[in-house]
């Protein structure tokens, strides 16, 4: 027993495990993406996933956006009134919501709801041999289970973010006009005065990326889950945690790419 050799062996094993994981993840992501474009196509599965990721996430995303817009208006008023800059509140709310808070908060909420559900469903299918059964019935599980969810994530998230943008701005409008006494017309003029198409489009591009990340993490962790209920639970947790971290990390990267000149 040589402690130095043991340490080196431990580090080596950890590096190999990490590289193996990265390789497995990359192959999974590439195969899933390729499945979107190559036949056979499963429109029913895409429709079902769109309902689960998009439609059923509407209430939670709407409420999150509405309250975020309301809080943003209140907080901005508290800060900006010290500098007599209350007129900037409308612009701050709309730019913050469309460029940043709409896509990120919607992404985190959908990750907790739909990403977790995906991981749990695929994890259960894995541990009950349903994924193996698909293969014995001439069906590629990557094309049948993973590709439709990835596509649905990419389509559904921008639609959710459009709703989040509208409701976030509406939340700011309601607080500003009802509680803070702003003139409704002036508030709306200020809202659209500094808003450019780029602001909304960049948020929608982020939403597409976040939708892909949420679906990919949900599918990846669910697909490779092992053991019984404990394995499915662990896969669900990993899916939500990894998707949330990746959303925040990729948000920085995308912001850097989209807004830095």
């Amino acid at each position: 027993m040589n402690p130095i050799l043991d340490l080196i062996a431990g580090i080596g094993a950890a590096v190999l495990n990490t590289l193996g994981f990265i390789g497995e993840f990359s192959i999974f992501a590439a195969t899933g993406l390729a499945g979107i474009f190559a036949p056979p196509y499963y429109p029913r599965m895409v429709g079902r996933s769109l309902m689960e990721i998009g439609f059923f996430s509407l209430p939670v995303v709407s409420l999150t956006a509405l309250f975020t817009g309301m809080v943003l208006a209140l907080q901005s008023y508290t800060g900006f009134s010290r500098f007599n800059a209350e007129s900037a509140i409308a612009s701050i709310v709309v730019l913050s919501v469309t460029r940043e808070l709409g896509p990120v908060l919607a992404g985190l909420m959908v990750s907790g709801r739909a990403g977790a559900a995906m991981a749990a469903e695929l994890g259960t299918m894995r541990v009950t041999d349903q994924i193996d059964a698909l293969q014995t019935l001439s069906t590629d599980p990557m094309k049948y289970l993973v590709a439709p969810r990835l596509l649905a994530g990419i389509i559904a998230m921008p639609l959710l973010v459009v709703v989040a943008d509208i409701l976030g701005v509406m939340g700011g409008y309601l607080v500003s006009t009802i509680k803070l006494g702003f003139n409704p017309t002036t508030y709306l003029i200020n809202t659209f005065a500094h808003l450019r198409a780029d602001d909304v489009i960049s948020g929608l591009i982020k939403a597409c990326a976040f939708g892909f990340i949420i679906a990919l993490m949900g599918c990846f962790h669910g697909y490779r889950s092992k053991g019984g209920a404990q394995g499915v639970g662990a896969a669900t947790t990993s899916a939500v945690v990894s998707a949330s971290i990746l959303i925040l990390a990729s948000d920085y990267v995308l912001t850097q790419l989209l807004f830095t000149k």
């Binding site: 469903e121 299918m125 009950t128 041999d129 349903q130 193996d132 059964a133 293969q135 014995t136 019935l137 001439s138 069906t139």
Partner: protein
């Protein structure tokens, strides 16, 4: 006679654990082979290797004279498309109604139009003794015995020439086990299929098997007529089939 399935030198390890260590097995057309063996001896790994769910480390698996491990992926897929599988716990898709489960393979292979699928599923369900009203139920609404029957219906729906049964009577009471065995024998005979079943249930093994093989320490330790299982003079088979505490299997566990 040329075997329908011919396995030679099949090996599979998981880490340091050798599960299959040179399995040789022949299954002849139209016969029913039963593979018995203790828990964790690799029976499921053997079946999953033939189906393509597990890639073996070494050896060959021939179906109709073609090695599925050496032919192209598309050809291997074609060869394996003639296999129907009954999983131990049924593995029914719980997001789909019973009829869609039964017709799933036919729809996937474009052998049937969606509008005709329910009718075909009802027809196949009748072959396993289930009424048409079961077709619209969800798998979670069925008892264990009914789930096994639906899983059997799904396995036979595309009239496979090879069928695998993984512990078909596990979790069922003796009468329902006998019913499932009877259905398996009927379906296999009617389709003229070649079958491999793995089981711990000796009564089931004798009922559904023409020939039997004992998997022990990663190899086939014995083969012979299934009717001779309970009267075998092989000490491994004798100990296993009679559930004796003393014998080579117990000694192996103590290592």
């Amino acid at each position: 006679m040329t075997p329908k399935i011919k396995i030679r030198g099949l090996k599979k390890s998981f880490g340091a654990k050798k599960v299959l260590d040179g399995v040789d097995l022949d299954v002849f057309p139209g016969t029913a082979m039963v593979v018995i063996g203790g828990s964790g001896t690799g029976k499921s790994v053997l079946i999953k290797s033939i189906i393509g769910l597990i890639t073996p480390d070494a050896g060959s698996i021939e179906i109709d004279g073609e090695d599925v491990l050496k032919v192209s992926r598309s050809r291997a897929k074609e060869l394996r498309a003639q296999i129907g599988m009954l999983f131990q716990n049924g593995a029914l898709f719980d997001s789909l109604p019973v009829w869609e489960n039964v017709a799933f393979g036919l729809l996937a292979e474009n052998k049937i139009r969606r509008r005709d699928a329910r009718g075909k599923a009802v027809e196949v369900l009748a072959q396993v003794g289930l009424a048409p009203n079961v077709a619209d139920l969800s798998p979670s609404e069925l008892s264990g015995g009914m789930q096994k029957r639906v899983a059997l219906a799904r396995a036979i729906a595309s009239s496979p020439s090879i069928m695998f049964f993984d512990e078909p009577t596990t979790g069922l009471d003796p009468i329902m086990g006998a019913v499932i065995d009877g259905l398996i024998v009927d379906c296999v005979k009617r389709l003229g299929s070649t079958s491999i079943a793995i089981t711990h249930d000796m009564a089931s093994a004798v009922r559904i098997g023409d020939t039997a093989a004992m998997l022990y320490e990663g190899k086939i330790a014995w083969t012979g007529p299934a009717q001779n299982l309970l009267a075998s003079d092989n000490i491994v088979v004798d100990q296993f089939t009679h559930g004796r505490r003393q014998g080579p299997i117990q000694m192996a566990l103590r290592k």
